[in-house]
Symmetry: C2
Subunit: 348 residues, 2 copies
């Protein structure tokens, strides 16, 4: 399965990118010129001067996991991939709304190897561009004549509420030293999970699928979202900088209290206590690669690395089981599972 997964998943992602990028461009063109130019830069289509980068979106626009889930979700309900496209475009717009606003809130100056929107155009333009992308996502879904467009738009609006709740919790957790693994998982289920859940279900909703199929796809997406974040957190500490494009131990240098860190802090005995002391230390974040290397060892000694890897595999298994419980055509089911395997085994 793993070998075939590694072969199949990227093709499903590329296919989604190929159909979704042109539709997304057509909607972005509706925005005022300033917001459209900034969004095109953020999505990787143009540079900061507005010149095309020649990227259809693959490099700049991320892995297209959410749009791929959305189109496969329609196919899982027996409809053509086409039916899921408004959902695919909409989830990608909401994802990018959240990235543009998060970069302002986190003060991050770089994303995907390029300066962030606020770093180039300032906070005001970043707020407005994010707002424009969020409103546009609803337009995408609400046009046309699908009898299920209101249900899909409602699903996305609710997911956005949960996504924002997760971000609110993440911000609050930064100021706390006593966050539990359960609280951290709850935060992740919103911040990362809500939109992946919606992506996995929205195509089926647009296709008018039964409540059972929509529920199974939602469970699949919810488990996948948490697995995605667990792997993200592992890569942020132990990822190969040549693959991730980020500095070694990048999340630890920023003192991010990710899931493996939270596990180590709350289950880790003496290594966990040493880790807590290091996190509470006065060294400025980013300056301390020896300290970060030591912190990575402490997390591993405290069981945080093993726990996160095992938990990701467990979530993958539950996600896969959810799909087995309902009638879904074999092709889309296998592609959904392949994407899930790709998410858990990826190196970037």
């Amino acid at each position: 399965m793993t070998t075939s997964a590694a072969r199949v998943a990227p093709s499903a992602l590329r296919r989604a990118q190929d159909v979704v990028a042109p539709a997304t461009r057509a909607f972005i063109a509706r925005l005022d010129d300033t917001s459209a130019a900034i969004a095109s830069y953020h999505l990787g289509w143009t540079d900061a001067s507005g010149a095309p980068t020649g990227q259809g979106g693959d490099k700049g626009g991320g892995k297209a996991i959410r749009p791929a889930l959305a189109t496969l979700s329609a196919q899982a309900a027996g409809a053509p991939a086409q039916v899921g496209i408004p959902g695919a475009v909409a989830v990608e717009l909401v994802h990018n709304f959240s990235l543009v606003h998060d970069d302002v809130m986190d003060g991050d100056t770089e994303r995907r190897h390029r300066p962030t929107v606020w770093a180039v155009w300032g906070t005001t333009s970043a707020i407005l561009t994010g707002d424009a992308l969020l409103a546009l996502a609803q337009e995408v879904l609400l046009e046309g004549s699908s009898p299920h467009r209101a249900a899909a738009a409602r699903l996305l609006a609710e997911a956005t509420r949960h996504l924002i709740r997760g971000q609110v919790q993440d911000v609050a957790f930064e100021r706390r030293g006593d966050v539990t693994v359960a609280e951290c998982l709850e935060m992740v289920s919103g911040k990362t999970g809500a939109l992946i859940t919606a992506s996995a279900a929205i195509g089926a909703v647009l296709a008018g699928a039964s409540a059972e199929v929509v529920a199974a796809l939602s469970t699949f997406g919810a488990q996948l979202g948490i697995a995605f974040q667990l792997v993200d957190d592992l890569l942020g500490i132990w990822g190969n900088p040549e693959h991730t494009g980020k500095p070694v131990f990048s999340d630890l240098r920023l003192r991010k209290k990710t899931l493996p860190v939270t596990y180590a802090l709350t289950h880790g005995g003496s290594p966990g206590r040493e880790l807590a002391d290091w996190l509470a230390g006065s060294e400025p974040p980013g300056s301390d690669s020896t300290g970060a290397a030591r912190a990575a060892d402490l997390i591993e000694a405290a069981g945080g690395r093993d726990w996160a890897a095992t938990e990701a595999q467990h979530r993958l298994a539950v996600a896969t089981q959810a799909l087995a419980a309902v009638p879904i055509p074999t092709g889309p089911r296998e592609e959904l599972i392949a994407i899930a395997h790709f998410i858990v085994t990826r190196e970037t």
Copy 2:
């Protein structure tokens, strides 16, 4: 008409506030605790510590013009006011999303005599609370079983895009010295007009009204939105501080290039040129009440005050005519016209 307008309009506004505030509260309660608390403060229901202010929303939440238009819009289409309530709640949420974000962008520290959200909780919380209100507005519209909810939600999403376009233009105009009256009116038609237009039409859309009635109500709202801003601009310069609660010449102290200022700059001969010199001067905004008084005289001498007042009356007339061209029951029609008169003759 004017006397009766002054009597009728406030009662329509109060009535809207009475039905919309409880529905809005129920939706706000759905947000995460932090966003709900911040939104409750912004809406005037609680103080910064979370203690109830005893205000149903009238004082803190503004004049309820938009919700009143939304419920009357349903009645204009022959439906009960109740049918317009999701629209009324949704437009009020979008209005407040834009206020919370605008205060961040403009760096305004006070609104309705209280510290702004970002001034109390910081920029991150203000961005997130605004985002939450925008997403929630769509949820409000998309619930229930109205066959017209997708059309109403689409109307609101499009209006939000135009509102954001107007704000983008407003930000860009601050850096330009050559903005024309036509450009400024176009900006206002988005920033202020888009949501008032949507408010005037959304109840009718929810009621399944004919395209003609929706179009007439949209024209009414679009004209009213511009009249609203013209009067706002006049009050920002010549308003009585005892009524407006703002310092005398408040907009001029902030060097705001509002519609009467833009008219004076572009049509005002020698007073216009003196005004341009003053606006370009190096005195820090806010420090200069003698200068602001002189600037107000220059705007008047250049014809900006008369133009704005005449233009507001003209927009009121066009708005009223738009309603006369379609079959709308007498009661709601008169109340809509009364609100329009109230907007143009108000002193706060």
